[in-house]
């Protein structure tokens, strides 16, 4: 497999986004964000982000701030992930008039990458 793709999929958020697109074959940006927000392993990993570290230091009463910052971090991470996966031609995009409903679907390169990863038991 292309070493750049291997390097790309070593990022846990990008790998998670890729797996979600693969699993569903097609998914909206809104669904991707919700999926990442609800995934406990992503939440645990993203809590190390500097923005969240600052928010977590706030008193417990300001949970709303933490959730808002987390949502913002997820939004940026997902946008970055889909852009990188698109550049690597593993997924493609169908834009909608509202960005939240942009559709991302797996390409032939993405399916072939999945096959190679499955053979090396990485995905």
């Amino acid at each position: 497999m292309n070493p750049e793709v291997t390097m790309l999929l070593s990022n846990y958020v990008i790998k998670y986004v890729f797996k979600e697109v693969l699993k569903n074959r097609r998914i909206h940006l809104k669904q991707l964000r919700e999926s990442l927000t609800e995934a406990p392993e992503i939440r645990a990993s993203l809590s190390k982000e500097p923005e969240l570290q600052t928010a977590l230091s706030e008193p417990a009463a300001k949970k709303g701030i933490t959730d808002a910052v987390f949502a913002d971090v997820v939004q940026k991470k997902v946008a970055d992930a889909v852009q990188q996966l698109k550049t690597a031609k593993l997924i493609d995009e169908r834009p909608a008039s509202i960005e939240d409903f942009n559709t991302y679907y797996v390409t032939e390169n993405g399916l072939n990458a999945e096959r190679e990863l499955r053979q090396t038991a990485t995905v």
Binding site: N24, R25, R26, H28, K30, D92, R94, A96, S97, I98, E99, D100, F101, T103, Y105, V106, T107, E108, G110, L111, N112, R115
Partner: protein
């Protein structure tokens, strides 16, 4: 190699060429059936989205591989009692097609090992090309249908749309959350909720709205 070849020739002697041809024909037909089931299933797309040259090419490659394994399956089929000889062709096709992997692993024709494994790779790559093409074509279909559905639903009042969303989701906070998401996206709340509603429509609801388009 020559020993294996003569072994095969001894085993299948007495079977007519038409028997081989019939089993090959059945194998091609079964390959078509497998492709018609596999591609829509793997692509999560409608059958009409799966019709195209990549799927045709996949069927051709699959047929080639299955015809090869069907011919190899004759080695086992000829050991079945001669009283069942009229059924040898469909049995060879069945074992060849559905025992594809088993036949490959148990063949001792080393000359063909490399070639047969290459066929397997071609089949997987052909399947991925067909699946990817079906996914892309389904997106074309979805996009066209979505435009019509959104146009239809935008004719409703916002109150009617909110009611439909609440009925669909059963979540009393759904409308509030969608309004908030629309604001965060700088999008028209009514349009945002219509987009969301379109995603929740079942097949019969979609069909009803699509047939009533003006």
């Amino acid at each position: 190699m020559s020993k294996s070849y003569s072994l095969m020739a001894d085993a299948v002697s007495g079977v007519s060429a038409s028997g081989f041809a019939l089993s090959g024909f059945i194998a091609v037909g079964l390959s078509l059936l497998i492709a018609l089931i596999e591609i829509p299933s793997k692509s999560k797309s409608q059958l009409r989205a799966c019709m195209g040259s990549p799927s045709f090419f996949y069927w051709l490659v699959l047929s080639f591989g299955n015809v090869v394994t069907t011919l190899l399956a004759w080695l086992a089929v000829v050991k079945i009692p001669a009283s069942l000889m009229p059924f040898y062709p469909p049995l060879a096709a069945f074992f060849g097609v559905f025992g594809f992997e088993t036949v490959l692993k148990n063949t001792n024709i080393t000359m063909f090992d490399r070639g047969v494994l290459t066929i397997q790779n071609w089949i997987e790559k052909g399947a991925n090309a067909a699946v990817a093409a079906a996914i892309a074509k389904q997106e074309d279909i979805n996009e066209q249908e979505q435009d019509v559905l959104i146009k239809q639903l935008m004719k409703l009042s916002e109150t009617e749309i909110n009611t439909r969303i609440l009925t669909k989701t059963g979540d009393p906070t759904a409308v509030t959350n969608l309004n908030a998401a629309a604001t965060a996206s700088s999008a028209d709340p009514k349009l945002y909720k219509v987009f969301q509603l379109v995603l929740t429509l079942n097949r019969s609801e979609r069909a009803a709205l699509l047939t009533h388009k003006k």
